[in-house]
């Protein structure tokens, strides 16, 4: 970063704001290529078994129905297993097996959506149905759990001064982004184009190439706008293959959008957990041992894993730790990452347990955490690159007014309302992946920067433009950043808070290379006022190259390119991603504070105030970072108090598969919220000094609320969501 940083760190508005407020941003289903027809999936009404017959005659008799496709008439596809997640991926109509309630068993293609919807309701499917097993609590985990151990936790627990034996339970959550998953597929000869809702355009290319046995270079995936995803678009689900298959069969472009109900089994979800935790400490609150026995749901055909154990391994100094993470195979569709995956679920248990221990010992919850602050990462033995969690506690306590908290539960009232305060820590790992970005500076002094990344809401194009502006020495208005097209340079999936670190570093590298190219051109050009200057002494600002110590001496990119008869300069930036063997432990940290009011008689919980403080290292755009944090606190209120996917275990049906019965926070649920980012950078993590922030901002929100509920009521609720019923 030899360039002055002006755009990075500035709270500038989104570069694509106008598109979004005028309805011009194009999401997948907004595309209607010439001749497009509509597809509607018929999904299984049994939870396990085989399809024994499909009577599509009534559907096919509808004028406008083009074709009904099922395993009875679908072509056999070549298919290569993608290898991740482990197992056998769900495939489009390649066999008669029903693996879960809601699995696609047929698709109806018609010239209008109305006809396709009605015809889909006329398809009669008969089954050989078997009782499904969908209840996490009633089934056994597979016999190959993931395990971790250091020291001898069981023995250390026996001799601990204080022990707690706690059982936590967390409901399944669905992402429910406002945009349902959907695809528009078009074949041009042997080339496939998809307008797809995805967080990973190049991942969708790989999945399609594997399913259809195609060369990836014949597939293009376009996704310039993603209507929220929160992890649900991290994988390519079977409906995308169904849309492509249907388009090939009917020889017309096909639009297939899942209904809201279908998204509950058409994409993944945050799995339900049972997390049994035993903690041991000495009288002064220093942890001596912890045993984590975790069970989670997965499908029978694939295994989804996420890092639910990390918080218990490394957040606090604990000499003896033992962990078991078992997957319970059920007749359900495969879970997937959902915002703060693993960490968010793990933090609910660990952070509630810390609150329980603080109460048991009569210690302030922050003081207990400070006493267990580790000096390095005890799970890896590595030093922390940066860990400003103490700063988070301090800033949060001050901003929130933590000193006003009465540690005695059920001691603060406001009329009928019991008032309580709670806090929790959070942690999320700093993922970095290989990425590239192309940079082109045109003779008119504007630049185009491109990478196949995505934007599901954080403002990727804006923050990338900021990085590019500083590295190129241009204003943001002079730069266009393009994303969401698989033909663009390599980018990892837009998930796991890795986009800024990975793609941002590639953007900076490409822009640095291009700027140096221009400076070299200038200093070697006898006609340039910069001729003969040491390139290291030249900087660029506002599109003008100049000598740092003598700013009057210089010229613009435009003049330089025009005189040298160059239509443009180009560079390809790259970032290698995290090294195979890390030298540091890289994590972002959070401290979340919540004040709740609980109606003493009705058990109704209202969150009144929240403060979130984050160590996410460098903040590229404080305005966007603030929105992410406020949004995650809002999502965390849902996770804590509202969100609960309910399955009828008799047939495996999700009974609240809609936005009226699966409750998410609304305008009326909003408390006063404030987000604070601790200043700092982490250049060990990546060249632009960021640690990622999309996930960390939600980790710790639910336990902060749960701990506040305990402080308000004296009732310790160990399951999510904390519903009114639990408090009656």
């Amino acid at each position: 970063m030899s360039q002055p940083q002006a755009a990075v760190g500035a709270a500038v508005p989104r570069v694509d704001a106008r598109l979004r407020v005028t309805g011009q941003a194009k999401y997948a289903a907004d595309n209607s290529p010439d001749g497009v027809v509509h597809a509607v999936i018929v999904d299984s009404s049994v939870g396990r078994g085989r399809v024994t017959g499909i009577d599509a005659r009534a559907a096919e008799a509808q004028a406008g129905v083009v074709k009904v496709i099922s395993h009875l008439n679908a072509p056999k596809l070549p298919h290569r297993e993608p290898g991740f997640p482990p197992g056998e991926a769900l495939r489009p109509f390649q066999d008669d097996r029903v693996r879960f309630f809601g699995q696609p068993v047929a698709v109806v293609v018609a010239t209008t959506l109305e006809t396709a919807q009605h015809a889909a309701s006329l398809v009669k499917v008969s089954y050989d149905a078997r009782p499904p097993s969908t209840d996490l609590g009633a089934a056994d985990p597979a016999d190959d759990p993931e395990t971790y151990a250091r020291g001898d936790a069981d023995r250390a627990l026996e001799s601990a001064d204080v022990t707690l034996d706690l059982a936590y339970r967390m409901a399944r959550n669905h992402h429910n982004p406002m945009e349902p998953a959907g695809t528009v597929a078009r074949w041009d000869g042997d080339r496939l184009t998809l307008w797809e809702k995805t967080q990973h355009v190049q991942g969708t290319v790989e999945t399609m190439a594997a399913e259809f046995g195609m060369s990836p270079d014949k597939i293009r995936v376009i996704s310039p706008a993603v209507g929220g995803a929160f992890g649900s678009g991290g994988r390519t689900w079977v409906h995308t293959s169904i849309a492509a298959l249907a388009a090939r069969e009917v020889k017309r472009p096909v639009k297939l959008v899942l209904t809201r109900r279908q998204t509950y089994f058409g994409v993944g979800y945050r799995p339900a957990y049972e997390y049994d935790l035993r903690l041991g400490s000495d009288r002064r609150g220093r942890l001596t041992a912890s045993v984590h026995d975790v069970r989670t749901e997965s499908s029978r055909y694939e295994r989804h894993s996420e890092d639910v154990l990390a918080a218990g391994r490394m957040l606090y100094s604990t000499p003896h730790v033992r962990q078991v993470y078992g997957h319970v195979p059920l007749d359900v569709n495969t879970p997937t990452w959902m915002r703060g995956p693993g960490y968010s679920s793990g933090a609910f248990c660990v952070e509630t347990a810390m609150d329980e221990l603080a109460h048991e010992l009569g210690l302030d919850p922050i003081e207990l955490r400070l006493r267990n602050e580790p000096s390095d990462d005890e799970s890896s033995g590595l030093p922390f690159s940066t860990r400003r969690l103490r700063d988070c506690y301090r800033a949060g306590a001050r901003e929130f007014g933590w000193h006003r908290r009465n540690p005695k539960p059920r001691s603060t009232r406001d009329g009928d309302w019991l008032i309580g305060m709670g806090m929790a820590a959070g942690v999320y790992d700093t993922a970095r992946s290989e990425a590239q970005a192309s940079v082109r500076l045109d003779a008119d002094g504007t630049a185009l920067v491109q990478s196949a990344t995505s934007d599901m809401g954080p403002g990727t194009a804006t923050s990338m433009t900021q990085v590019a502006a500083d590295a190129l020495g241009l204003t943001m208005r002079q730069i266009t950043f393009r994303l969401g097209d698989s033909d663009l340079p390599l980018a990892p999936g837009h998930h796991g808070s890795r986009t800024m670190a990975s793609v941002g570093s590639a953007v900076q590298d490409g822009c640095d290379k291009l700027r140096r190219q221009a400076i070299t051109l200038a200093v070697q050009d006898e006609d340039s006022p910069l001729h003969g200057v040491d390139p290291a002494d030249v900087a660029v600002r506002g599109g003008r190259l100049f000598v740092k110590d003598d700013p009057t001496r210089g010229e613009t990119y435009r003049r330089l390119l025009a005189r040298n008869d160059r239509s443009h300069l180009e560079a390809l930036g790259s970032y290698a991603g995290a090294p195979e063997s890390e030298r540091f432990s890289f994590y972002a940290y959070a401290a979340t504070f919540a004040e709740v009011a609980v109606d003493a008689r009705l058990g109704l919980v209202r969150v009144r105030r929240m403060v979130g403080v984050y160590d996410a290292a460098r903040i590229i755009n404080p305005r966007l970072a603030d929105s992410q944090a406020i949004g995650a606190m809002t999502g965390g209120i849902g996770q804590a108090l509202l969100e609960h996917t309910v399955t009828d275990h008799r047939d495996g049906r999700i009974v609240n598969a809609n936005l009226a019965d699966y409750l998410v926070p609304t305008h009326a649920d909003m408390p006063e919220m404030k987000a604070i980012y601790i200043e700092g950078e982490d250049f060990e993590a990546d060249p632009i000094g960021v640690k990622g922030l999309g996930e960390i901002v939600i980790v710790g929100v639910a336990p902060a609320i749960a701990n506040a509920v305990f402080n308000a009521t004296g009732r310790r609720i160990r399951h999510l969501p904390i519903t009114t019923e639990a408090l009656l």
Binding site: A63, L113, R260, L659, A668
Partner: protein, 216 residues
């Protein structure tokens, strides 16, 4: 002022009446509209022949109607399948994809548009009942190149992230201001609660509405 626009090229719907004896919702709708006297007999062009339906009986046309309505100041006369929602008419027939389909069940508000000045969930509104109606979508809020004050306020307050619920939030917010439901943050929140935002921009949406309401 409205301008006349010819009917766009159609992919006409076609569908025989339900054969079951129980009155289906679709059949009920067809009956209702016939009572309303707006059904235009015939006038439906046959669609492409159904492929792979060789054995099927000859299909009959779905009950359709001709309806004239004004959308963002442009008058449209269209012949539509009676089952068509206003949202699907806008998105799939008129090329106005600003209003979004989030749930198709009136639970999320992403499809909010104004019909004769009132906010409605366009996914729950049958297009055939909108004869002579004036519809305003997010695409109709700008005055020339100038954003509506609430659109500008959404930018100023960073009141969106993914942007998918934004058209519905903005149209709903415009109505909320017109209705006079902006007396306090609490009142705004209450009257905006039909519009879900999963990115969690509510606090900033409320500020944007306050900002725009204050300018009135």
């Amino acid at each position: 002022m409205s301008t006349e626009r010819p009917e766009p090229a159609l992919t006409p719907p076609a569908d025989p009446p339900a054969s079951s004896s129980a009155p289906s919702r679709r059949a009920f709708i067809a009956t209702s509209t016939a009572i309303g006297g707006t059904v235009v007999a015939g006038g439906l062009v046959a669609g492409p022949p159904p492929l792979g339906a060789e054995a099927a009986v000859a299909a009959e046309a779905a009950p359709g109607s001709r309806v004239s309505l004004t959308v963002n100041g442009v008058r449209h006369t269209v012949t539509i399948d009676n089952r068509t929602s206003l949202l699907d008419l806008l998105r799939e027939r008129l090329g106005l994809t600003g209003a979004k389909k989030g749930c198709n069940a009136g639970a999320c508000g992403a499809c909010t548009v104004l019909v004769d000045g009132r906010r409605v969930n366009s996914c729950l509104t049958l297009a055939v009942r909108l004869e002579s109606a004036e519809v305003t979508t997010v695409e109709g809020l700008e005055k020339g190149d100038r954003l509506h004050p609430l659109q500008q306020a959404f930018i100023d307050q960073d009141a969106f992230q993914c942007g998918f619920c934004t058209p519905g939030q903005i149209v709903s917010g415009v109505a909320c201001i017109q209705e006079g439901h902006t007396g306090s943050p609490e009142e705004i929140r209450e009257w905006m609660s039909g519009n879900l935002c999963r990115c969690g921009c509510y606090v900033k949406i409320e500020r944007a509405i306050e900002q725009a309401a204050g300018r009135k």
